[in-house]
């Protein structure tokens, strides 16, 4: 026992020693610092521009309008729904792509990532051809259930899932891939069935990736514009989300557009910063 007490006392000291030898340099050299500053400015300047032009005094009134309130409500509902659906479907997709070898796997992997590189308008059009009332799947769906997805809130959610779920698949697949499968095997030898292994080992161990996936899909769905517009249209109260409302307001009421943009910037930034501190640093 004594030698273990000894070594635990030694352990943190060793860690300190290591961090001292690979200490981060205090400042990046100029050839890094200059392009990095320009790059960061590209991110920061638009946000600053928005903050500088924001109609702070009229903010409450602007955000209290019917158009703003309905867009806020719709965006909240559709982005959260899209994130939840992406979670429920995306994790099994990532699992299948990561853990099973089958013919056509690389084709499927490409297909899953397609929405990330496709212009969202094209994605929306594709959704329309497939799920529109006269579409490949939409037509029999309508005949059978009377359900019409285009130009409905369901359509907004579907468009969000389509563009955002690849991010969930990517992050979760990355997490699964870097998970040492010996942990799951150890759990099996301890008598854990597949469900117990999943619940008590795999999911907790890839939790950071899953949370990152939720944050990214939610943010992507919140900002979705092109596919929503094409597939679901721009109907106030039904399919007009925040980005669409901003687009419309830019033509008619610039201050309202600024106020709505501000809401999106602040909410998104808050969520991303909070998650980054909480999860990504600890990885």
């Amino acid at each position: 026992m004594t030698e273990d007490e000894h070594s635990i006392r030694k352990a943190p000291r060793r860690r300190e020693g290591r961090s001292r030898t690979v200490q981060r340099p205090r400042r990046p050299p100029a050839f890094i610092a200059i392009p990095a500053t320009i790059g960061l400015a590209l991110f920061a300047l638009p946000v600053l521009g928005l903050l500088g032009r924001a109609p702070w005094s009229r903010l409450a009134t602007l955000l209290g309008s019917d158009l703003a309130l309905e867009a806020l409500r719709l965006s909240a509902i559709s982005s959260v729904s899209a994130a939840v659906i992406s979670l429920l479907l995306g994790v099994p997709v990532a699992w299948t792509l990561c853990r099973y070898d089958f013919p056509g796997r690389s084709l499927l992997r490409g297909l899953v990532l397609l929405p990330m590189v496709l212009p969202p308008v094209v994605g929306g059009a594709a959704l329309l051809f497939a799920l529109g009332r006269r579409g490949l799947v939409g037509s029999p769906l309508y005949e059978a259930t009377g359900l019409v997805l285009p130009f409905s809130t369901g359509g907004v959610i579907l468009a969000g899932v389509f563009v955002a779920m690849p991010l969930m698949v990517l992050t979760v697949e990355g997490g699964l891939r870097s998970l040492d499968q010996r942990f799951e095997r150890a759990a099996e030898t301890l008598g854990a069935g597949r469900w117990t292994v999943l619940r008590r080992v795999t999911i907790p161990m890839i939790a950071p990736s899953v949370v990152a996936g939720i944050a990214l899909t939610w943010a992507r769905a919140l900002g979705e514009f092109g596919a929503t517009l094409t597939f679901a249209g721009n109907l106030q109260g039904r399919t007009q989300t925040l980005p669409l409302a901003v687009f419309v307001a830019l033509e008619s009421d610039r201050d309202a557009a600024l106020a709505l943009s501000l809401v999106m910037v602040i909410v998104s930034l808050a969520v991303l910063v909070a998650l980054r501190d909480h999860w990504w640093r600890s990885r």
Partner: protein, 351 residues
């Protein structure tokens, strides 16, 4: 053998073929030794049910766990084989207590009961005070103790220890070895210790199995392998000189002979000296005179490209030299010679 482990493991992988017959009696510990890539960890995976067999069978305590001929296959969760994995493989997101309780919780033991028994096991491996710590905040030796408690708590029918010492420094090695000795002595089922360290194998196992290139090169007691090593690797590990004695400061006393070592130690020790680290001289050598002593050659064995020389009192050891050196020194049984060994070539473990 019927009540212990009875197995024949046949696995074919690209570029690798494993065919091993392995039997272990209840209460017996077998050490599986072999160079890297010999298939040691594959044997663990096969016995634990993590890697399916291409041929052969696994029977444990009269129960058929796997039989390639009939297609019988009991999954790892139902085999009741406790595995102590290389590097522990503790769940990083669970505390030491939750790690140990995991096997009971998986078998639907109520949480309170599982935690109570896990706390008892942590106490038994000397970690009662650290039960709330996660593996990241435990030392290597402590992690292996948790891994042992985690493997034993489910009262497995067999114990597999995959290189339990490989990640440890010398000081925590001795403590874990004593702990393993205690628990293996009280363990009713067969145990398999995977290692590449002959010291551990000799100290912990009743019988040695040498695995090379996927098949058993030799098996038997340490003495049997020492006398008739069947391969260069077996000769290498069996020829290692293990000397039990006592340390006081930098001086080891073995029998009535003394050796000087570079680092101070105290109490019972095991000194390991590789045969190639011992030089043979015809006259008293210069240099570091304290670790040289006169003796008489008792026996000379020839193995392919090397010659093993066994010497008599005051410190019987095996030295290894080249055939050229033997001819040059004109050595034969009965020759009076001087032996010398550098202090830095003597590995000291607490015994």
């Amino acid at each position: 053998m019927r009540t212990g482990l009875d197995s024949r493991l046949v696995m074919r992988r690209e570029g690798f073929h494993l065919d091993v017959a392995l039997g272990i009696d209840p209460g017996q510990t077998v050490a599986l030794l072999g160079p890297n890539g010999a298939g040691k960890t594959t044997v663990v995976g096969a016995l634990a049910g993590l890697l399916p067999l291409d041929g052969g069978y696994v029977r444990l305590g009269g129960r058929v766990l796997e039989d390639a001929a009939t297609g019988t296959l009991v999954g790892p969760a139902e085999r009741r084989i406790g595995v102590m994995f290389q590097d522990g493989v503790l769940f990083p997101h669970l505390s030491a207590l939750e790690n140990v309780a995991f096997g009971l919780r998986s078998r639907r033991v109520p949480r309170r009961e599982a935690r109570r028994r896990a706390a008892g096991w942590l106490e038994a491996v000397g970690l009662g005070a650290l039960s709330d710590r996660r593996p990241g905040r435990l030392s290597g030796g402590q992690r292996q103790r948790v891994a042992l408690a985690r493997a034993l708590i489910t009262e497995p029918s067999m114990l597999l220890l995959d290189e339990p010492f490989s990640a440890l420094d010398v000081s925590s090695r001795a403590g874990l070895r004593r702990l393993l000795q205690d628990h293996l002595a009280g363990f009713p089922g067969p145990s398999l210790l995977i290692t590449h360290d002959p010291t551990e194998a000799f100290l912990l196992a009743d019988r040695l199995v040498v695995l090379e290139n996927g098949s058993v090169a030799q098996e038997g007691s340490a003495d049997q392998i020492r006398l008739r090593p069947a391969s260069p690797y077996a000769a290498d590990l069996a020829g290692v000189n293990l000397l039990v004695g006592a340390a006081s400061g930098k001086v080891l006393t073995i029998g009535n002979h003394q050796l000087v070592v570079p680092e101070a130690a105290s109490g019972r020790i095991i000194a390991t000296i590789h045969p190639r680290a011992i030089s043979i001289h015809l006259d008293r050598p210069g240099g570091s005179p304290r670790n040289s002593w006169p003796t008489r050659i008792e026996r000379i064995d020839h193995h392919a490209d090397r010659v093993r020389v066994q010497t008599g009192p005051p410190l019987p050891v095996t030295a290894e030299i080249t055939p050229d050196a033997q001819t040059g020194l004109n050595l034969a049984p009965g020759s009076e010679v001087w032996l010398s060994v550098k202090a830095t070539e003597i590995q000291v473990d607490a015994g």
